[in-house]
C-alpha cells in the first residue's frame, strides 16, 4: 500500500536513487479490461490468434498500457504534490505478453536544480530481460 500522506521533497533526491519497483502479472482478463479502459482495441492486444499471426508469442501490452504503468511507478514515488512532466522517450524492445510478470523500475539520472526537475531512467523487465527502456522527467516540491 502506498502511504499517500508522506510527501517526497526535491532536496531528498540524489543521482543514483532507485525508486520502488512495481510488478503486474499479465493475464488475458487484465488485457481485456485494459483494452476496454484505454480504448486501444487493436486485435494484437486481446486476441491471441491475431497477435501470433503478427509474429508475437501472444497478446501483448499496448503502448497506452505501458505509459499508464510508468505513470503509476512515478506517481507512487513523487506523491500527490509531485508533477509528471514527461514520460519518454522510451523504446519498446520486446513484447510484454500474457503470462508474463512485468516489473517497472526507475533510477534517478539527473537532478536539475535550476529547473527543479528530476530526470530518471525508467524500464520494464520480464523473464526475457528488459522489454522497454527510456526516461521520464518529474518535478517535486521544494521545502519552505
Amino acid at each position: 500500500m502506498v502511504e499517500w500522506e508522506k510527501q517526497l521533497y526535491f532536496d531528498e533526491v540524489k543521482v543514483g536513487d532507485e525508486i520502488p519497483p512495481i510488478s503486474l502479472p499479465l493475464t488475458l482478463q487484465r488485457m481485456i479490461m485494459e483494452a476496454g479502459a484505454n480504448r486501444d482495441f487493436s486485435s494484437i492486444h486481446h486476441d491471441t490468434k491475431a497477435a501470433r499471426a503478427t509474429g508475437a508469442p501472444d497478446v501483448y501490452m499496448s503502448s497506452f498500457f505501458i505509459v499508464g504503468m510508468f505513470e503509476r511507478l512515478l506517481r507512487e514515488w513523487i506523491g500527490l504534490k509531485g508533477k509528471i512532466k514527461k514520460i519518454g522517450p522510451f523504446r519498446m524492445r520486446i513484447f510484454n505478453c500474457v503470462g508474463d510478470l512485468v516489473t517497472f523500475k526507475g533510477k534517478v539520472k539527473q537532478v536539475q536544480n535550476e529547473k527543479g526537475e528530476i530526470v530518471l531512467d525508467i524500464w520494464s523487465e520480464t523473464r526475457r530481460g528488459q522489454t522497454t527502456t527510456g526516461e521520464a522527467t518529474v518535478m517535486l516540491p521544494k521545502r519552505g
Binding site: 500500500m1 502506498v2 499517500w4 503486474l24 487484465r30 479490461m33 485494459e34 476496454g36 479502459a37 484505454n38 480504448r39 486501444d40 482495441f41 487493436s42 486485435s43 494484437i44 486476441d47 490468434k49 491475431a50 499471426a53 503478427t54 509474429g55 508475437a56 501483448y60 503502448s63 497506452f64 498500457f65 505501458i66 505509459v67 499508464g68 504503468m69 510508468f70 505513470e71 503509476r72 506517481r75 507512487e76 500527490l80 504534490k81 508533477k83 509528471i84 512532466k85 514527461k86 514520460i87 519518454g88 522517450p89 522510451f90 523504446r91 519498446m92 513484447f95 527510456g134
Partner: protein
C-alpha cells in the same frame, strides 16, 4: 513488434499502401483532427485505474486533489491519449456485418499516410504533459507527420514515420504533446505476406 494479420481470408491492414512519394507528400502536414469519444468523467477514470491496480486519490477523491493544488479530481496524465480516441462506432454509422474485420485503433501515420510497406510496428513513444485534465473536459487531437527516416533493419527495409499529436482541451489549451515512431517495412526478400 510487427503488425500484420489475416482473418477469414481477409487481411487486417497495418497501413495504407502507396509510394514513398506519397509518404513524403504528407511530411510536415496536419493529417488528422479527432474529437475524443468521451468527455472526461469519474467512471472512465476508475475503469482505467482498475487493470493497473493504480490507487491514487488524486484521481477519485475531490478533497485530496484540492489539497494537492488541483481544482478537483484530475485524470491520470497518460489518459489524455485515451480521451483523444474517436468512437469505434457512433450514431449514424453503418452497422457491422458478419465477417467484417475488427476495427483497429486509428493511427494517422498508418491509416492515412501511404507507404510501400505491408508490415509495421511501434518502436518509440514520448509524451509531455502541460495542463491537468479535469472531469468535464473534452479532448481533441491534431496529428502531423514530422519525420520520415528510411532504414534497413534485420527484419526488413522501410522507414520510421514519426507522428506528433497535440492534445487540447475545450478551452484551446495544450494538454499534452505525444511523439510516436512507427517502423513501416517489407520483409528483406520483398515477400509481403
Amino acid at each position: 513488434m510487427a503488425r500484420q494479420s489475416k482473418k477469414q481470408g481477409k487481411s487486417i491492414t497495418w497501413g495504407k499502401y502507396g509510394t514513398w512519394e506519397g509518404t513524403e507528400s504528407f511530411l510536415g502536414k496536419e493529417i488528422c483532427y479527432s474529437v475524443g469519444a468521451d468527455v472526461v468523467e469519474k467512471g472512465t477514470i476508475r475503469r482505467w485505474l482498475e487493470p493497473k491496480e493504480f490507487d491514487c486519490p488524486l484521481h477519485y477523491n475531490d478533497e485530496v486533489a484540492k489539497r494537492a493544488g488541483y481544482k478537483g479530481i484530475v485524470a491520470p496524465c497518460g489518459m489524455v491519449m485515451t480521451y483523444g480516441v474517436e468512437p469505434y462506432w457512433k450514431p449514424g454509422d453503418p452497422h457491422a456485418k458478419l465477417g467484417d474485420l475488427p476495427k483497429q485503433i486509428p493511427l494517422p501515420v498508418l491509416d492515412i499516410v501511404p507507404a510501400p510497406c505491408t508490415l509495421s510496428f511501434a518502436s518509440d513513444i514520448e509524451i509531455e504533459f502541460f495542463e491537468p485534465v479535469y472531469t468535464g473536459d473534452q479532448v481533441t487531437c491534431t496529428s502531423k507527420l514530422v519525420a520520415v527516416t528510411k532504414k534497413e533493419l534485420k527484419i526488413g527495409k522501410g522507414a520510421f514515420l514519426k507522428q506528433e499529436s497535440i492534445y487540447m482541451n475545450q478551452k484551446g489549451e495544450v494538454i499534452a504533446i505525444m511523439h510516436i515512431a512507427i517502423f513501416r517495412f517489407v520483409q528483406p526478400n520483398g515477400k509481403v505476406d
